[in-house]
């Protein structure tokens, strides 16, 4: 279709055309729109459109073109009909009018065949679908990398650059293998190259360096959620990170790593170390949508291990690759049964503190259906999809065989350490209860005999305290009085003659009296509630113990629905708000109040604005504690306060609750019950564990369950009995305790008749399947078998017959050594991935990798000992022809310069400054300037990322098969202005000793010596910086200048570059 084009604005409008050219005008359209269904991969309706001859051949149902007669041609009808059921292509917009016109013209012209047109190749013949083979190399040719590259270069007349300077090479190697720059001594290492390589490969920091690379590929992310609610990934997923690092350090075969990541629960169900690997799957957990979760699992299992974009077949057959829509759901069926849970770890019972995230098959019989057009709301329920791998590569797929699991795997409560840890808790309670009881007994024996029965009334008159040594404290809060008060918290301000608490907080911001208080006292305080959020309380506490878990207090609250005056108390950190201690009061914001209260032994009287309000008897006292003033959710202004010993002649009103004095919680009787309850709990737990341990022996289980049920009910009853005693006259608590006892008795009666069971121990924590679920609705044990689907998948991926697995891995490793991959599309080795220029090299390395037992260490060694790896990265002095012929270095005639990844930038700064904390493993740490751990230990999630790392292209937690290397001004700002860079510059400068400061600084930071001009420039700047510092009267001007120089060198292009 030769055309004359008219430009109108940016639109191109064809003015006139002549006959359409099939190759130029038609074939590209068909290729883009039709080949997916009518090409080499598939021939829907028996039709292929990939050559003109095939078009003429037609479909199963007959010809689709009638040469010379466009009007009779089915093809044109199908392209243009308004009937959407018939119109082709079925998806997307119809062909453009101009495209249809071209086809019409071509048919009208007799549908001529072009010369030498060949059909599309069979997709199974795709290069990446053939098992990689080592091509024979001449005898002792040396490193195959160099032999193969040299071959190709020779054929094109390309000349390599010389080997890089030794120090540059050593820096390159250190950064590559351990992610930290070498010290000056290491730069001067005279050992042979091989020895340095081997030493670095065995350095544990190598596992951290490459662990971070694989964390990119395998999508490591810490959890995120709302508050404690888990939404994505898993809490404590760092266990998987540690598995990655450790696996690399022990040079575990990659095949084994794949098996463990996808199916450790089926392969080694009793090995918690291996189970950590399934973090790879658990990481995909997504609370809100199971399909999103499984889609991520499918997509990234495909991309990470076998370089196939399975995700493209979610809604329809893959457009390019031989992966059908059904294949996608076969793959989904592999993962359909699995769920994630936290297993207990030894020594920790609280899953918020630690737990091992892992996967397991939970729903063995769940069915997988194909989602029509990828819509989960539209499943095709006519047909259950069976688990399997894509048909095109399925010839070597192992059979799926269910796996029987050991009891410890499906019933975590049977594990030794779980039982030990849980028993330890209840046994410790027994010890504590004993101690408490002993102390009470001792006290009872020495204390003057109390009336064994509670006194009807009145309570014995408290002995008057020793005559007042005239304790008196007065303060009008006109100014700070640090001798009298300790001020805790930032919200306190003196102004306008009052002390203001200006921030409404629930934190313990308080004023603490520095004087010891008498037992009996009288306090008068004038204050105003000035605002606040919810409770708006002003609280005066006394008898506060140093651990602040014991106190008695009086407070007023302006809380909207029920403002009040209240006497209350805290015991063991638990607050009690007795009804008898409460009086409703219309406390208002902005109104000044005068609160007065008097305390004589346990009796408290309270007045507000001079009016008597309340008399209340506290359960007990601990005189000698502190006195504190504070607000709770409130801002307050304190005007003045007077505290003095209570004169013996002041008469106090008796409280109504005085006669209802509860049995003290620390009486011998109560504590005996407490001990009995604690002991019963141990007996109960042991019985429950005995039953749990028989789960797999159904014949014994019934009897053991009954025993456990009985012991459990007894323990509950004992607990109830203790609680009844401890409840005193608290009606609510009494009622609860009585109900507890009654229920336990009912249960005991049932057990006596052989019915009822115990409450099983929830020793693992399953991640919720939807937000509507509650953990309690899940069983405490899990299926006794696993489907074996994931293990079969893993064996298929890790098979030496799988043509993709080794190639994909080798390509990732190569990319991270050379800055460029051998196959550009690192996660797509499908039909769109052209055979790479260095296909033979990739194959040799892949085959070698598998032969070595999938040893990454072997692969790294092979690569970094090659000559190609050691070439200089400069183009200076390069052969002009080479530079012109291969400017992008496809043939590796020089090394590529790379930029440090973000983690390497930060780690290097810390390392050079000598402050890097080399502790390995453990929970992820919050990002921040003060952290000194290696960057891979930072929390890294949707909601948390270190700011500095982010500037230098941190891994995208959703997908990061290859880091991008952006160059933006913000990076310059970060390196020149961040606190970290400035602080580290100072430390690095301090570490450099000796006369040759410039020389050393250059070597340490850039891995090479300065040339004479560079040295001069640096010296000149040093001098200027020092003069400047002197002028500004800075301390130690010389050192400050050195810091300045180091800081400048940190910003040198060659610092962040791996040359």
């Amino acid at each position: 279709m030769k055309a004359t084009w008219l430009y109108i604005g940016t639109l191109l409008i064809p003015l006139a055309t002549d006959a359409a050219d099939y190759l130029r005008d038609i074939k590209p359209v068909l290729k883009a729109r039709c080949y997916a269904c009518h090409g080499a991969l598939k021939q829907k309706a028996g039709l292929r459109l990939d050559t003109a001859a095939n078009i003429r051949k037609g479909a199963k149902g007959g010809a689709i073109v009638t040469p010379g007669k466009p009007a009779d041609s089915e093809l044109l009808y199908r392209l243009t009909t308004k009937d959407l059921e018939e119109r082709m292509p079925p998806e997307g917009a119809p062909l453009k009018a101009s495209e249809v016109a071209a086809i019409k013209e071509w048919i009208a012209a007799g549908a001529p065949l072009p010369e030498g047109e060949t059909a599309e190749a069979d997709p199974r013949a795709h290069w990446a679908f053939q098992v990689p083979k080592k091509m024979p190399l001449p005898g002792d040719a040396g490193n195959p990398i160099d032999v193969l590259l040299a071959d190709k270069r020779a054929a094109r007349g390309l000349k390599t650059q010389p080997e890089a300077e030794r120090t540059i090479l050593i820096r390159r190697l250190y950064l590559d293998l351990i992610g930290l720059p070498p010290t000056r001594a290491q730069l001067a290492d005279k050992r042979p190259w091989n020895e340095i390589v081997d030493a670095l490969l065995k350095n544990p920091q190598h596992g951290e360096r490459w662990g971070r690379h694989w964390m990119d590929v395998w999508r490591y992310t810490d959890w995120y959620g709302l508050g404690a609610q888990l939404r994505n990934s898993q809490k404590h997923i760092w266990h998987w990170r540690d598995w990655i690092v450790e696996s690399l350090n022990e040079d575990k075969g990659y095949d084994q790593m794949i098996l463990e990541m996808l199916a450790a629960d089926e392969l080694a169900p009793e090995d918690p170390k291996a189970l950590r690997a399934t973090g790879f799957l658990a990481r995909n957990y997504y609370l809100f949508n199971r399909t999103t979760w499984l889609d991520a699992t499918i997509e990234h299992t495909g991309k990470a291990f076998i370089g196939l974009t399975l995700n493209c077949a979610k809604c329809h057959d893959h457009k390019y690759d031989p992966i059908t829509h059904v294949d996608y759901y076969r793959f989904r069926a592999i993962f359909e049964p699995h769920q994630a849970r936290l297993d207990p770890v030894p020594g920790v019972i609280d899953f918020e503190k630690d737990g091992l995230p892992r996967v397991f098959d939970n729903h063995l019989d769940i069915k997988t259906y194909l989602h029509l057009r990828g819509d989960p709301k539209n499943p095709d329920t006519n047909r259950v999809i069976q688990a399997g791998v894509p048909a095109v590569l399925s010839s070597f797929a192992p059979k799926i065989a269910p796996v029987r699991l050991p009891i410890s795997a499906y019933a975590p409560a049977t594990r030794d350490y779980v039982q030990r840890d849980r028993l330890a808790v209840v046994e410790a309670a027994v010890v504590a209860a004993k101690k408490e009881l002993d102390a009470a007994k001792k006290k009872a024996a020495t204390a003057p005999k109390e009336n064994p029965k509670p006194n009807p009334k009145p309570i014995p008159k408290p002995k008057p305290e020793k005559p007042a040594t005239a304790f008196e404290v007065k303060d009008d809060f006109s100014k700070a009085n640090p001798k009298l008060w300790e001020v805790i918290g930032k919200g306190w301000k003196f102004q306008d003659g009052a002390l203001h608490q200006t921030t409404a907080t629930r934190d313990a911001e308080r004023l603490v009296l520095r004087r010891p208080m008498p037992r009996d006292f009288e306090l008068t305080c004038r204050y105003t509630h000035t605002g606040g959020s919810t409770y708006k309380s002003v609280t005066i506490r006394f008898d506060v113990t140093p651990d602040r878990k014991y106190a008695n207090y009086v407070y007023t609250s302006a809380h909207a629905p029920g403002p009040k005056l209240h006497v209350a108390y805290e015991r063991g950190g638990v607050n009690t708000y007795p009804a008898e201690g409460r009086v409703s009061q219309p406390i208002k914001i902005g109104t000044p109040y005068t609160l007065r209260f008097a305390v004589r032994n346990r009796l408290v009287n309270v007045w507000l604005n001079g009016k008597s309000q309340l008399a209340y008897t506290l359960p007990d006292r601990k005189p000698g504690g502190r006195l504190e003033l504070s607000g709770f959710d409130a801002t307050v202004a304190f005007d003045d306060i007077t505290i003095r010993s209570l004169p013996t002649d002041v008469k106090l009103a008796q409280s109504k609750n005085a006669t209802t004095r509860p049995k003290p919680a620390n009486s011998v009787e109560t504590l005996t019950a407490k001990l009995a309850a604690a002991e019963a709990k141990v007996v109960s737990l042991k019985a429950i564990f005995a039953a749990e341990n028989l789960r797999h022996k159904k014949s014994h289980l019934k009897a053991a369950s009954l025993v456990a049920a009985k012991r459990e009910a007894e323990a509950v009853k004992a607990a109830g009995e203790y609680e009844l005693l401890a409840a005193g006259k608290d009606a609510k608590k009494v009622k609860a305790a009585k109900t507890k006892i009654a229920n336990a008795e009912k249960k005991l009666a049932a057990v006596a008749k052989g019915a009822g069971g115990y409450t099983p121990i929830r020793a693992a924590k399953k991640a919720l399947e939807t937000p509507a679920h509650k953990e309690a609705q899940y069983p405490t044990t899990y299926p006794e078998t696993s489907t074996g689907r994931r293990l079969a998948l893993a064996r298929w991926i890790a098979s030496k017959k799988n043509p993709l697995t080794a190639r994909v891995a080798v390509n990732h490793v190569w990319l991270r050594h050379f800055g460029e991959p051998l196959v550009e599309s690192v996660f797509d080795f499908g039909l769109r991935a052209k055979r790479p220029l260095q296909a033979e090299l990739l194959d040799v390395l892949a085959a070698e990798f598998m032969e070595s037992g999938w040893s990454f260490r072997h692969l790294h060694r092979l690569i970094v000992t090659s000559r190609a790896y050691r070439l200089s990265s400069t183009t200076a002095g390069a052969d002009a022809k080479t530079l012109a012929a291969d400017p992008n270095n496809h043939f590796y005639w020089r090394m590529n310069t790379r930029r440090m990844e973000s983690q390497v930038v930060r780690d290097s700064l810390l390392h050079l400054a000598g402050v890097l904390d080399t502790k390995m493993g453990g929970p992820s740490v919050n990002p921040g300037d003060a952290v000194r751990r290696r960057s891979l230990y930072f929390k890294h999630s949707r909601d948390q990322q270190d700011k500095l790392l982010k500037m230098f292209n941190d891994a995208d937690h959703l997908q990061c098969y290859r880091r991008s290397e952006s160059i933006v001004p913000q990076q310059a700002l970060a390196l020149s202005n961040s606190k970290l860079a400035i602080e580290m510059s100072g430390l690095i400068a301090k570490k450099i000793e000796g006369e040759e400061f410039v020389e050393s600084a250059f070597e340490i930071l850039l891995g090479r010596k300065p040339d004479s001009t560079e040295r001069q420039e640096c010296l000149k700047t040093l001098g200027e910086l020092e003069a400047e510092a002197k002028k500004e009267k800075k301390t130690n001007p010389a050192q400050r200048a050195r810091r300045g120089l180091v800081h400048a060198l940190l910003n040198h292009n060659d610092f962040v570059s791996v040359r």
Partner: protein
């Protein structure tokens, strides 16, 4: 660019680091610069070249976003029926079926918390009166006395809808995607990515105010996502002493020391460049340092308002406590766009009026009304409004029914946004909600239609902005709202 470009200005005299020596930018984004310098792979897809797809109407955008959800009912979409039927339930009103049996009711919404939000059935009367304004006679609530004077410059879109009924709609409003779909490039990032720089000394996409919290998309609301962090909005504070992240070394490095360091750095990088004549990344990094240095000088200059007249400051309400903060941000926004910044995004928080709507909205509207009106006025006076697109939006509206006794809940079914300047037709109210202000009923627009409109005014076709490997859904692109274009 010649291979030994640095020779053209190498060994420059000291103290000249910040001056241009012939290697400045030529109005391109750094990404496209790298492409030009051969960092992008030959034959492969290349990022945009900084040119619009067709003649643009607007060159820059100022985007106001009300975090928390502004009531459309008390702002730009008066519904007398709410007063008439106040106290009745939606079902008891004559419009019950139109609302509850609508094909849109609950169908589009993807519940953030996994369960649908309760319907707020009891109709709550309008908390403020409305008057018609301008020649167009469009009604605006009396809480907006300043902005209503500009009604003839505004195109109010009363038929926005979205699919998230919780505050992650803040993310959705900027990326077009529900948070369940993860993070995607924000509208500002797309503009930045497509068009790049108008000024080499300033970041091209700047945000002010507190962004959404992490629950709700966080900095994703101005994030670059897969376009890369270089296209993300740079948060800026209005404090001239330290406006940028890592914007100053603080007191620990003096200005003179920094100048000395930068001089040395330039010398050393130039010297190293001799060894690596073809290293495009090195050239880019040297430029990045220059841009950073210029930014450090230029950005505080923008924040310094000494040169602005008292009249101008007053126009923005800067002399009043209630309007000072936003007034300052709006004035700085004008100064930024004046200097060629492409996209300025201003967040204003606290609009989530579940209770006490009257107190909440009367005070929050007061906080933004005069500053935004002042900005429109100022832009107009300076002849900048023609080429500056001002957009005002919020993540959703608020329910026609009362929440508790005196609030309104989140309402994704229908709400308002407006645009002005930049080739937008003024004095137009486009689209409509139903009688109760519940569903967007006429000319419905999903949030990406607003994006497509903004991009269209910038001369961009959102369909032409796609990155290989990141397929976009049709709904991501949106449809430009042509009815409001001049």
């Amino acid at each position: 660019m010649s291979a030994n470009w640095f020779n053209s200005c190498g060994r420059v005299s000291r103290r000249n680091f910040l001056s241009d020596c012939g290697m400045g930018f030529t109005g391109l984004a750094l990404g496209s610069m790298l492409a030009r310098d051969g960092i992008a792979k030959e034959g492969a897809w290349a990022p945009p070249n900084g040119q619009p797809h067709f003649a643009p109407k607007a060159k820059r955008v100022i985007w106001f976003f009300m975090v928390g959800g502004t009531s459309h009912l008390e702002s730009f979409d008066p519904k007398p029926a709410l007063n008439k039927y106040a106290g009745l339930t939606i079902g008891e009103s004559p419009h019950g079926d139109a609302v509850l049996k609508s094909k849109f009711y609950r169908k589009n919404v993807r519940d953030f918390a996994g369960v649908p939000r309760n319907l707020m059935p009891k109709l709550y009367p309008l908390q403020i009166g409305f008057k018609q304004h301008g020649q167009s006679g469009i009604a605006v609530s009396d809480w907006w006395p300043h902005l209503s004077r500009h009604i003839d410059d505004l195109a109010v879109v009363r038929s926005m809808w979205t699919t998230d009924n919780d505050h992650a709609a803040q993310l959705q409003f900027h990326t077009g995607r529900h948070i369940f779909d993860g993070f995607h490039p924000s509208i500002g990032a797309w503009a930045h990515y497509a068009l790049g720089s108008l000024n080499d000394n300033l970041p091209q996409f700047i945000t002010m105010g507190a962004p959404p919290r992490d629950c709700c998309g966080g900095v994703g609301a101005h994030g670059g996502s897969y376009l890369g962090p270089e296209h993300a909005g740079i948060p800026m504070s209005t404090n001239p002493a330290n406006p940028l992240p890592f914007g100053t070394p603080g007191a620990s490095v003096t200005r003179e020391e920094r100048a000395g360091q930068l001089d040395l750095l330039r010398e050393l990088n130039g010297l190293a460049g001799v060894e690596y004549p073809n290293d495009a990344a090195m050239r880019a990094r040297i430029k990045a340092y220059e841009l950073a240095a210029r930014m450090q000088l230029a950005v505080p200059e923008v924040m310094k308002l000494d040169g602005e007249s008292e009249a101008t400051k007053k126009l923005y309400g800067m002399e009043q406590a209630a309007t000072k903060r936003v007034g300052q941000q709006a004035l700085i926004a004008r100064r930024l766009v004046e200097r060629g910044v492409r996209f300025v995004q201003i967040y204003d928080g606290g609009w989530d009026a579940h209770s006490k709507l009257k107190a909440n909205h009367s005070s929050h509207i007061k906080g933004v009304d005069q500053p935004i009106a002042g900005l429109l006025e100022d832009l107009k006076q300076r002849g900048l409004l023609d080429e500056t697109l001002v957009v005002w939006g919020t993540e959703f509206g608020r329910t026609p029914g009362a929440e508790r006794s005196d609030g309104r809940d989140h309402h994704p079914y229908g709400f308002s946004a407006w645009l002005a300047g930049g080739g937008i037709k003024g004095g137009i109210a486009h689209g409509a909600t139903d009688e109760l202000g519940f569903h967007a009923a006429e000319n419905r627009h999903y949030v990406t239609d607003l994006h497509a409109t903004v991009l269209h005014q910038l001369g961009l076709d959102s369909h032409q902005l796609e990155v290989p490997g990141h397929k976009r859904l049709e709904i991501d692109f949106g449809q430009p709202i042509r009815e409001i274009m001049a």
